[in-house]
Amino acid sequence: MEIVKRPHATNLVNWAKEKPEVVVFSADLTSSCEIDDFRSAYPDRFFSMGVAEQNMVSWAAGMAKEGFVPLVHTFAVFIYRQALHQIIVSVAYPYLPVKFFGFLPGILTPGGMTHQATEDIAVLRSIPNMVILECGDATEVESVLDVVYNIEGPVYVRTLRGEVPRLFPKEEPFEFDRARILSTGKDIAIFTSGICTEEALRVTAYLRQQGIEVQHLHISTHKPFEDPAIVEAISNAKYGVVTMENHTILGGLGSNVAEKIAELGLGKKLIRLGLKDVYAHGASRPYLMKKYQLDAMTLVRSVEALMEIRLNITEEELASVHLQPIHSSAKAEAL
């Protein structure tokens, strides 16, 4: 699988070239948020605001009022935890086109609780006017910019940095409020987002080998959550649904799916994988994914529980499942 290094850095520079109204805001994490190339390329459109996120958010709102499109970059926690009041009052309520790029989602950092954005979707989903997107691979990191740009109001992007795998082909960009149908099948529906999709792909490949039919949907738009394919997948799942998210199970993808099941009376069992109303701590990504049950084996166990079966697979066998770039089956199979 292709690993793309710092996908946001050069992509943003190219994308913003002919968009003079696009400005970038940084709160002292310029290199960490991969906007250092932008700073070099367009110094007049780059605004260093210091470690002062509250002012940065309201200030960006002021520039948005005057026709600029501010892309606010910092670690996700410092956006929605430090400046929530400013997001609501200065940006979301007046429906201004400020676009937030939040890095280090969930347990992706050894920085511990203060750096781990584990409830950002839950918090921001409750705010009227907010659109919430999440990137799951390099293709989505690259193509989310067009989506963000075409949305009139505020957007929060939960995004990735550093060495990011390319799961989806370049020619299949991020589509607003559309799930990627990664496999089809009527036994189990699996919904994943962000880094959990890569983890789940190892499982779905294995399950197919075992003759278990899995409808696997990758979710990149958390709000709105209206793709009809979501309800269809839930309705078709004979044994139930599993959600897997790098986030608390309260208020994120799992809750979103639970609301659909309840409101539409779909009557399906649901297992939500994610942080179970706990704080994580600082450690490596594989360690934390295993500890907090965001790993492939836990997903296998969840499928076993729903189907009341026992699959004989070891961690090693799961880890050895080779991943190919995944073409969305939305065109090939579902349609």
Binding site: Q54, K65, P94
Partner: protein
């Protein structure tokens, strides 16, 4: 309102002071009718508003209705706000100034100002705090005169900073004026904003601070000291001038410090009981006045009739 020909020949200071007295009178009248309101804010800030609106700010004529529209029934509090309260300060245009009222609870004082300068009708003011009205108690961005909803203190200065920077980039000649309350100097975001204003050399923006020395819990130096404001602001790289906040000439003067590479702060030292000495008895709790007894209310009514009604008659 005076007819234009009279205004033109009149010394601006007389006219501005008349507007200030009119602001106090209108807010006082409202408080009497409604048995409560933000009265001390009118006492302290009347001259600041009057000076800004009659002498300092370069605003276009208002195209907004003299009687504000009501909140449309279909308004769901989502997406596009259908009506902008800033329209009362004239249409947005590169050459005209912009005004940001940061303490949203000064709304009544702003509405009274708009009536005094002919941008809002008396009938419009009567919609204050009525169900379905845009003339809200704490102004929102659909309320007359409001650019932004500023009920949460300290955010408007940062927004205004962004607007001012954007206007500099776009080479617009219009200025940005902000009215801040001294209580907001306790907010961390205010100092974040001042640092950024200074760092980006925002010199097309000036801030009037109503330093009345009082807040909800009482006297500010007993709640959380913010002085020395002038020294603090100057150490942040701003131009700061302390003035008598009831002297309209002194209030108008610091505007000349704009365009010198630094943000300008006018520290308007004011008396929250100015013009209504009866309020002295309520010190230090002046944030929101609600009459405690019929006797107290009658004393205020008496004072209003003796002083304000008489003055109004003189003017008419």
């Amino acid at each position: 309102m005076n007819s234009p020909d009279v205004t033109e020949t009149m010394d601006w200071r007389v006219r501005t002071s008349q507007v200030a007295n009119g602001i106090r009178r209108r807010v006082f009248e409202h408080v009497l009718e409604n048995n409560g309101g933000y009265l001390s804010q009118a006492c302290s800030a009347a001259e600041i508003f009057a000076t800004l609106y009659t002498r300092v700010m370069n605003l276009a004529e208002s195209n907004a209705p003299l009687i504000p529209i009501d909140i449309p029934p279909q308004y769901a509090g989502k997406k596009v706000v259908s009506f902008r309260g800033a329209e009362y300060n004239g249409p947005i245009s590169p050459e005209y100034d912009r005004f940001f009222l940061s303490p949203g609870h000064y709304a009544l004082v702003l509405y009274a100002t708009l009536v005094e300068v002919g941008r809002l009708s008396e009938e419009g003011l009567k919609k204050f705090n009525k169900d379905g009205s845009t003339v809200e108690m704490i102004g929102a961005d659909h309320s007359p005169g409001f650019e932004v909803m500023s009920g949460s203190l300290a955010q408007a200065l940062s927004v205004a900073g962004g607007v001012a920077l954007a206007r500099k980039i776009k080479k617009e000649s219009g200025k940005v004026w902000v009215l801040l309350s001294d209580g907001e100097m306790q907010e961390g975001q205010t100092w974040e904003a001042i640092a950024a204003l200074s760092f980006y050399k925002i010199d097309n923006l000036a801030v009037y601070v109503d330093v009345n020395g009082h807040q909800c819990d009482g006297k500010m130096n007993r709640v959380m000291e913010v002085e020395p404001l002038k020294a603090r602001l100057e150490s942040f790289g701003a131009i700061a001038e302390a003035v008598d906040g009831h002297d309209v000439e002194a209030l108008a003067r610091p505007a000349q410090y704009l365009s010198q590479g630094k943000p300008v702060f006018v520290l308007a030292y004011t008396n929250p009981c100015q013009g209504i000495p009866l309020l002295e008895a309520r010190k230090p709790f002046l944030h929101y006045v609600r009459f405690k007894s019929q006797e107290e209310r009658l004393s205020y009514e008496h004072y209003f009739r003796e002083v304000f009604a008489a003055k109004t008659n003189e003017r008419v």
